[in-house]
């Protein structure tokens, strides 16, 4: 089959690779119909996540048709159309039973490696380095899906790929970001980053009862999308001072909750950016946390900082004093997608959410390398690229 593979820093290549085979009794093989490129893929593309190998198949947002089943899959039939959550979860361990699917205790064959870096291992993820298991991803014609009874969600008849594809990751991730904010009536939520995650976080925060939601980015076209499709108020951090503006907008108090939807490759006009770039280039810190620092120092006393932007390792100049002395709560996580698929599917069906607005580009799988370049450099007003296999 054809698959989009990592070929070194800033380089992906669509190559011929063998077709997937059933390895575990609870596997399903999918023929992929749609798959997307995610901000998380850019961290791999840019070479910031360790343990990615030349030839690794990328992609963790995908859906398609079941073409083969392992002997122990009970809930699916060949021919079913399903969308797949990006974390691989067994459904039987204690963490899965608590709803903490992305930290499944059984799904990461490289847990032994990962616990050396993080203390304890996380679960497996499709196409996301060997630290999360060395699983091939879904930017391909076919993919093997472990624990097929636990993850994949059957797509109701009549719904299009565009409507449900983002249940695999970005929509649940943004929803969880808003959920972690514990929004109460009258709350103002600020969202750093107006990519797909940030945009859906604005939508989610309103649906969860926020009074005002403020999106922060530097790309005018993304901020426009946040205003027009998600009712956000916006701040362009290259034109306005973020702290001053947020204070002015919140009566001097600061937003009740702050969402980091940027992650480890933040850009910033401030001096700490130069510092982080140098340290990151010298690999003396793995992540550039300027958006996170800003989310912390701008949050109101006693507020919540919700982190869904991905971080890989270690950061410097972390404002722990601001967190501790001002009674902030930090919540974070790779999304426990399984928890949110069904309820969000219903919200799409009843019209609360129309996820299709973020799609700006459609390309055939063969053109994945062009898609990565465009999405990385935010060219041609790119917000989300969907690849069809």
């Amino acid at each position: 089959m054809r698959a989009n593979t990592w070929a070194g820093r800033n380089s992906v290549e669509v190559r011929d690779v063998p077709d997937p085979k059933i390895l575990n009794a609870q596997d399903a093989i999918l023929k992929i119909s749609s798959t997307a490129i995610c901000g998380s893929d850019l961290h791999l593309y840019d070479g910031y996540i360790p343990t990615v190998m030349n030839g690794d198949i990328l992609g963790h947002e995908f859906m398609g048709e079941v073409v083969e089943l392992g002997p122990e899959v009970a809930n699916l039939r060949v021919g079913d159309r399903v969308v797949v959550p990006f974390p691989i979860a067994c459904g039987r361990c204690w963490s899965c039973q608590q709803g903490l699917f992305s930290v499944c205790e059984n799904s990461n064959p490289n847990g032994w490696l990962q616990e050396k870096l993080y203390g304890f291992p996380t679960g497996g993820v499709f196409g996301y380095s060997h630290l999360t298991g060395g699983y091939p991803g879904g930017q391909a014609e076919y993919a093997r899906v472990p624990f097929a009874d636990v993850g994949p969600l059957k797509v109701p008849d009549g719904m299009t790929d565009d409507q449900v594809l983002f249940l695999s990751d970005v929509l649940p991730t943004a929803w969880m970001a808003a959920e972690m904010c514990d929004i109460r009536p009258g709350d103002t939520v600020a969202v750093w980053g107006a990519g797909p995650i940030g945009l859906y976080a604005v939508v989610s925060a309103y649906l969860r009862g926020a009074e005002r939601v403020i999106a922060i980015d530097r790309f005018a076209y993304r901020l426009r999308m946040a205003r027009e499709h998600a009712r956000a108020e916006t701040i362009n951090y290259e034109e306005q001072d973020v702290s001053e503006t947020l204070k002015a907008m919140t009566g001097g108090r600061g937003p009740d909750a702050c969402i980091d939807a940027v992650g480890m490759e933040a850009h910033s006009p401030r001096v700490d950016y130069a510092y982080d770039r140098v340290k990151q280039a010298m690999k003396l810190e793995t992540d550039r946390p300027s958006a996170l620092r800003e989310a912390i120092t701008n949050c109101r006393n006693g507020g919540v900082v919700s982190i869904v932007g991905v971080y890989g390792g270690f950061v410097d100049k972390f404002p722990i004093g601001s967190v501790m002395n001002r009674s902030l709560t930090i919540r974070a996580g790779q999304c426990h997608v399984h928890r949110y698929m069904q309820p969000l599917l219903e919200r799409i069906q009843n019209g609360d959410i129309d996820p299709t607005f973020v799609i700006t580009h459609r390309l055939p799988l063969e053109e994945a390398p062009a898609g990565y370049e465009m999405f990385k450099n935010k060219q041609d007003e790119c917000v989300k690229v969907v690849l069809s296999a």
């Binding site: 067994c90 204690w94 990461n108 032994w112």
Partner: protein
């Protein structure tokens, strides 16, 4: 004076950052140390990076003499590579000189830390514990003791029953090739295991303690290739969270402490192996099989290959 451990910890962060620097983008690192990137050098720089990461991982896990000596060996490798680079025409001598001075300084710290850690280890028994607790089952005071624990989300009776059938141990203890029962009650059994370097070791074992749902102990009999013994204890995890499994393994390594170090260098670190075995034990009980991925393969020694399906010929 600084303890070996303190020095080792300091080296962890250094190793991690340097390693991360060299693995994905070797070119930039090369330029930084004054060696223009060239395709024949890239592999060298990357190997150095992978080694730094490995050393960091090892040190993070436990500051042990082997890991520390691996750093000293690594320093020698760095110095050799840099010296070679210094001799070739296209390098910036000032930078390479700086890099050599830096590495030489690090080497000094490494040697100091290594000597300290090795001395401490000599006092405490290298890595795995021995002394007081060791020898309880084997009677050998110099035996190595490895302990590990895991929580399994299944009822205690079921977890106990699975372990009590020794013939099933090879399902998750990957260095075990086979366990055969020698009598109907499973009191005596014959064990066959893979030793480092491809050798096979065998022994007969007897059950010396069997308290249903609580505790199982066994011990090798006279004439074993490796004298060894084990105890596994089962208890309810509080709050209905399944069963806690505690394992104590005792063994007299062939070749004593030296044998243990050689086994580690061959990639068979007994402590890591035991923890990994328990992780697989948990998988077998909770999900009925051992989870597999295309990018992580190998039975006894886990290896990484590109995360893409394996072809028919592979």
């Amino acid at each position: 004076m600084a303890s070996g451990r303190t020095v080792a910890r300091g080296l962890v962060s250094f190793s991690l950052s340097l390693g991360l620097l060299q693995v994905p983008p070797p070119n930039r690192f090369s330029t930084w140390i004054g060696v223009p990137p060239r395709s024949d050098r890239r592999a060298g720089v990357r190997a150095v990076g992978a080694r730094e990461l490995g050393a960091a991982a090892g040190l993070l896990a436990q500051p042990r003499p082997v890991w520390m000596w691996s750093r000293v060996a690594g320093d020698a490798m760095d110095l050799a590579l840099l010296a070679r680079a210094a001799r070739s025409g296209d390098t910036r001598r000032d930078r390479v000189g700086g890099a050599i001075a830096g590495v030489a300084a690090i080497t000094a710290v490494d040697v100091l830390g290594t000597v300290l850690v090795t001395r401490e280890a000599a006092k405490n028994g290298s890595g795995s514990r021995s002394g007081e607790e060791a020898g309880r089952l084997t009677g050998d005071k110099s035996a190595r003791l490895v302990t590990a624990a895991v929580t399994v989300n299944r009822p205690r009776e079921e977890v106990y029953a699975f372990w009590r059938d020794f013939t099933r141990l090879p399902q998750f203890m990957l260095h075990l090739e086979e366990v055969r029962e020698l009598d109907a009650e499973g009191r005596r059994s014959h064990w066959k295991a893979n030793a480092p370097g491809g050798a096979t070791v065998e022994w007969d074992a007897e059950l010396i303690e069997d308290r249903p749902n609580e505790r199982i102990s066994w011990r090798s009999l006279e004439g074993a290739d490796v004298t060894n013994a084990g105890t596994v204890r089962f208890e309810d995890a509080p709050g209905g969270r399944g069963t806690r499994v505690h394992v104590d393994l005792e063994y007299s390594a062939p070749g004593g402490a030296f044998g243990t170090i050689v086994a580690r260098l061959a990639g068979e670190e007994p402590r890591q192996q035991t923890w990994d075995d328990l992780r697989r034990f948990k998988q077998v009980l909770e999900i009925g099989e051992i989870v597999r991925s295309e990018g992580t393969i190998g039975e006894r020694r886990i290896r990484q290959r590109p995360a893409q399906p394996v072809g028919d010929d592979a």
